[in-house]
């Protein structure tokens, strides 16, 4: 069997198991999905009301609707829970058997991400299509080029959010507060990644600070690619930012993994 075929089989088995486990937890999956929909829906409701008197920073009601529907989809396609898994693997000793297998534990995490995203995003896409039939404001132009760019931006954002989450989870090698650090990151990203409002609406100082960090490339940029708000130089700038920050987080992950495993090897689990 070729090397590629072996990896396809491994990932196939990991994704299959993740889906089979999900089937056991249909109710909680539905609740997670509702949670994923509720936050952008609430934000949309607020901005919809505010924009009743006219556009805010260039965003009219329809623009907000498109933005938050796109955000809903992009968030589900890029979200990562790995820090919580890793924290429990490391603290509860479940990392041991994973380290004794000839497969890096990160592959299991990647496969679970693929499984989760394929399922949840599929469901949100269906909801979106149904809503778009009745509500023209949230319809998106069918331009293959834009969808291809969106796919690339979403892929880079998903990879970056995975490495951020995985690396933060690895902090459990050093501290029992790894999930608290991830919660803090999620809190900051609520504002700086565009989850609560498009970045154009942030105070200039905050938006300026965000532009120097990875947050806008996690979510706001792929959303703007999808809605068509990002074009021209902004596209080039956005993709460059995604590639650079992805590189930084991969480097951070490699450092945390090699140091963490050495520490785990030194102090035990």
């Amino acid at each position: 069997m070729s090397r590629a075929a072996r990896w396809v089989r491994r990932y196939g088995a990991l994704i299959r198991n993740a889906w089979l486990v999900d089937l056991q937890y249909r109710a909680s999956i539905t609740l997670w999905l509702l949670w994923g929909v509720t936050e952008p829906a609430v934000a949309l409701g607020i901005w919809w009301t505010i924009a009743g008197d006219g556009p805010v920073a260039g965003y009219a009601r329809a623009d907000f609707a498109r933005y938050f529907f796109a955000l809903m989809l992009v968030n589900q396609l890029t979200i990562a829970w790995d820090s919580w898994y890793l924290d429990s693997w490391i603290r509860e000793g479940e990392l041991n058997f994973r380290l004794a297998r000839p497969l890096h534990p990160a592959h299991e995490a990647v496969a679970e991400n693929i499984a989760y995203k394929a399922r949840t995003a599929g469901m949100i896409l269906v909801v979106w299509l149904l809503v778009a039939l009745a509500w023209p404001a949230v319809r998106l132009p069918l331009q293959p080029g834009r969808w291809a760019l969106t796919a690339l931006a979403v892929l880079l954002a998903a990879a970056m959010r995975f490495f951020i989450s995985f690396t933060t989870g690895l902090l459990a090698f050093w501290t029992t507060r790894a999930t608290a650090i991830m919660d803090l990151h999620a809190g900051v990203s609520l504002f700086l990644s565009g989850r609560i409002a498009p970045l154009a609406l942030l105070p200039p100082a905050v938006a300026g600070a965000a532009a120097w960090l990875w947050f806008p490339y996690m979510l706001a940029f792929p959303v703007e690619v999808l809605t068509g708000a990002a074009h021209g130089a902004a596209l080039g700038h956005g993709f460059a930012g995604q590639v650079v920050w992805l590189g930084v987080w991969i480097a951070g992950y490699r450092l945390a993994w090699s140091r963490g495993i050495k520490r785990y090897g030194a102090v035990g689990g």
């Binding site: 491994r10 088995a13 089979l20 041991n96 058997f97 000839p102 090897g265 030194a266």
Partner: protein
């Protein structure tokens, strides 16, 4: 490729933070942390030949699991050298990991919500086991472990014994030449313990695997291993056969008696140390070399209905080794 295990002067020292109790202690630890060295394993040396099955004994915290984790590459030794199946465990990578199985009695790799066969299929993919080999091995493991009834039940519905059998099956599908088993019968009832022991003996017989087994249950070790390593407070106290251990530590034998009318505790005490007396049964402990002669004198002097000479139970021997060291009775 060789499937032996070598450990040379293996040591592991953990540096742990020391904290006084209470809020004050917590604050002091924050400002000025203090550390203490814990020597979990000290200068342990042994060699296990391919195909050997060795029991690894010691009380809680003796260093058994730490040693096992060093042998499987999960922990780096502070000093010393390890070679397992020709590999240095922590640099062996996937090639090394394919040659070992690690079963931890208190941790499970089975996916909790799915039937065990799903974990087996996952391991088939992870270890690149060809389909035909997988079918053949699974059939063998299912037969040896009597798993046919449980393969399709979710793991969460299985009994502890059934789960451990499935853990073993999952760990052995890639047919590793070396098995590290950490308390595989922990918490199991007697029947399940016996089933696991029977399986391990049969598996090793068929496939000649090298096995290092830690257990609290002496029966596991006496049933499976003729050689034991005894470790306490990180030091290897004994490495050798069980018979030799008994001869070395138990310098006494037990004479078990069923007495006739008229025998008294006072009369018996003259022949050796009276360990128990509950008429008509009595147990005397006497020096090994005097056991035969004392028995003859007992038969001549007292109304004895039945008499047997026994070695000390292995549990007692090992307990003495843990508490007093292996040299105790030689001193």
């Amino acid at each position: 490729m060789a499937s032996g295990i070598t450990a040379e002067r293996l040591s592991k020292t953990f540096r742990v933070k020391v904290r006084d109790p209470g809020l004050g202690g917590a604050l002091r630890a924050l400002v000025r942390p203090r550390y203490r060295d814990v020597h979990a394993v000290r200068e342990v040396t042994f060699r296990i030949e391919p195909g050997e099955i060795v029991g690894f004994l010691g009380p809680n915290g003796a260093g058994k699991t730490t040693t096992l984790k060093m042998l499987t590459g999960l922990l780096h030794p502070t000093t010393g050298r390890v070679e397992v199946a020709g590999f240095v465990p922590w640099t062996g990578g996937p090639a090394f990991k394919r040659r070992i199985a690690l079963v931890l009695g208190n941790r499970q790799q089975l996916v909790w919500d799915l039937p065990p066969e799903e974990t087996f299929q996952l391991n088939r993919a992870i270890y690149d086991v060809p389909e035909a080999d997988y079918r053949e091995r699974l059939a063998e493991l299912v037969a040896l472990l009597q798993l046919s009834e449980v393969l399709e039940k979710p793991v969460r519905q299985l009994s502890l014994g059934e789960r451990m059998k499935c853990e073993l099956a999952a760990a052995l599908l890639h047919r590793p030449p070396i098995l590290f088993l950490d308390e595989p019968t922990l918490g199991l009832d007697v029947t399940a313990q016996e089933a696991i022991r029977g399986f391990l003996a049969a598996y090793r017989e068929r496939h000649g695997a090298t096995v290092l087994l830690t257990s609290h249950y002496m029966q596991d070790v006496t049933a499976l291993a003729s050689r034991v390593l005894i470790i306490n407070r990180g030091r290897l106290l004994y490495d050798g056969g069980l018979d030799a251990l008994v001869a070395r530590i138990a310098r006494t034998k037990r004479i078990e008696l069923v007495l006739g009318d008229g025998a008294t505790a006072e009369a018996l005490a003259a022949f050796g140390e009276l360990k128990s007396f509950r008429f008509p049964n009595a147990v005397l402990e006497v020096p090994r070399e005097e056991a035969a002669a004392t028995s003859a004198r007992l038969l001549a002097a007292l109304p004895v209905a039945d008499l047997s000479i026994e070695d000390l139970p292995i549990e007692d021997v090992i307990r003495r080794a843990f508490t007093h060291g292996v040299e105790e009775d030689d001193a």
